[in-house]
Subunit: 353 residues, 2 copies
């Protein structure tokens, strides 16, 4: 994959939907030699078009756009109704309205048109794999195509569809798991053994994602066979990040007892800090995406308005204690230097034995 | 730590109790430049003494012995009785007797005496941390001391007790988790982010364990900050391994749907292949170790006698699909060569950008 191979720093900034991945963040990362990403999810096609233009005003380096692939639109209506009933008390507490738990495809066709017309250098996909025709079409429009995978089976499917590279997402990653389905039981194979399984299955460049927060760990996944590492959580506290201040502060707040994977906010498995909402509602949340996302939208917005971390979705990967408040460009440069230092140190040590 | 720093190949063979870690396996690994380990658990102090002698007859290289640290001896009698009732039908099925679910300390004092008197080069501990006096005493008897830890908090405690090195065990690892307690909810931070947390907390050499099966992954954990990698599952199919043939065959049998962590066999969390016994009994198994170990002993032995993989404890880490049937010494040499190759390849690639 040309873009990956030409990166001065082998670091991809994870697309983080919901306003976190700003054009400023993506541009700062790309400008520093990494690969910045916009997240098309949850915004309008025209909003995305504007963000792409904004990135181009800030940098002439390559960048990427991530799209959610629409999946199964059916949901268990009874389970959804039960969950809605559970959440009524929450909504009352925050003076919020619950949303309509409807399905939608996140503007799939329109957003595909935008990235195609905009000739975005790298287009990545999450929650599924576009078909071979869609992949070929993007390639004809000068985009390199990355598919997010969480298992060797998904990797096989994505490689067969013609993906230029795969983003191998381990269970350590913050935010939504990119599984092609919405499985009851997640395959919990960690990033390193998952990389091994994927490497043994397909022969395309891999981007490793999940829980990475230091250049040493970036170097580790390179050595384990990845071409680059994708980091998200570590960028959340950058000034360019659109994460809200309560979320930023929570990441390094030791009073949160770590992270867990929950469907409580969106109906799809996602990793975030354990707060009251997660503890109260994870068990009752149905596998219904994006229905539950729409259902809880007003509730989450209300929690943000009052600054209550206990009812917000505090997406975070397992590296969250190490998220730093630093300009994204500086962070990319530091990570790049750490990568080289880590490799050189082990090379020296091995040379002595 | 002197032994770790002098290893020609930065690989530790994980101690695997229950007859798997034979003197032949430990000696072959040490002879090839790694660090072989005996497992004191479940055998008599005199049996252990004989195994130590056997290793010394086979190699003059350093090796290690692992001891189980006795923990909480209380167990919920009612929960145990309920679990016993559940297992009666299993026992009848296999014509086996359930054992007495009693507590014991695995011959702690006698085994400490054996390793002290035998001046074993490296003594490692699992399920807890010996007190500072015990650690100091072993060091006076020429042993270097390693404590297995699964969190930054445990790492702090072990470093404070005077451990020369820590074995940082990630959730990917096969067999028992080395947690100091028997927690209801396991901290599931993967090996790489766990290494980062431990490195940020203590300043002692680290051995990284969990799901590693290729020299690339060994190189990865070295780059991430470990001094060596500990591998267990990958040695299970070696001819020197004492694992029974049904267990060996199951590791690479695709009909098993992966691994999970269960208390069903021993009353303590341990990772193994998902089989019928695990599916039927994990939910009902109490946190009672070693009570449940003794309870299921006859049942497991009976399943082994009839070669039924569905009721055996098929301990396996997340790298199990890659366990190979090769002499252990050859495997260590191959892994060592892969480590050097992986580092050199990334160093070359970074030099080009």
């Amino acid at each position: 994959m040309t873009v990956l191979d030409s990166l001065p720093v082998p670091i991809v900034q994870a697309p983080m939907a919901g306003g976190v991945s700003t054009p400023e963040l993506a541009a700062a990362v790309s400008q520093a030699g990494g690969l910045g990403f916009l997240a098309a999810g949850y915004q309008s096609a025209e909003g995305l078009r504007g963000q792409i233009r904004a990135v181009r005003r800030l940098t002439d380096r390559p960048f990427g756009v991530n799209l959610f692939v629409p999946g199964e639109q059916d949901a268990d209506a009874e389970a959804l109704a039960r969950y809605r009933d559970r959440l009524e008390a929450e909504a009352a507490l925050y003076g919020a309205e619950l949303g309509e738990p409807v399905a939608d495809d996140d503007g799939w066709a329109d957003k595909l048109t935008v990235v195609r017309e905009s000739r975005v250098p790298v287009v990545s996909f999450t929650f599924g794999c576009p078909n071979a025709a869609a992949v070929a079409d993007l390639k004809r429009h000068a985009s390199e195509v990355v598919v997010t995978v969480t298992s060797a089976v998904e990797a096989r499917q994505a490689a067969d569809a013609g993906a230029d590279a795969l983003c191998v997402q381990g269970p350590e990653a913050g935010g939504h798991r990119g599984t092609f389905t919405n499985p009851e039981r997640l395959d919990d194979v960690s990033l390193l053994p998952l990389l091994r399984r994927v490497s043994a299955t397909v022969d395309v460049p891999l981007i490793a994602a999940g829980g990475l927060s230091h250049g040493r760990e970036v170097a580790a996944v390179l050595v384990a066979g990845a071409r680059a590492a994708q980091l998200g959580t570590v960028f959340l506290r950058c000034p360019e990040s659109g994460a809200n201040p309560v979320h930023k502060a929570a990441l390094t707040d030791p009073s949160f007892p770590g992270t867990t994977v929950t469907r409580a906010f969106s109906g799809r498995p996602a990793r975030g800090l354990i707060n009251r909402f997660v503890l109260d509602h994870s068990a009752g949340a149905p596998a219904a995406y994006p229905h539950v996302h729409h259902l809880t939208r007003g509730l989450r917005a209300a929690a943000v308005r009052v600054g209550d971390a206990e009812a917000m979705s505090l997406w975070a990967g397992q590296g969250h204690p190490f998220a730093v408040e630093r300009p994204a460009g500086e962070l990319v440069e530091t990570l790049g230097a750490q990568v080289r230092e880590a490799i050189a140190e082990v090379a020296r040590r091995l040379a002595r034995t």
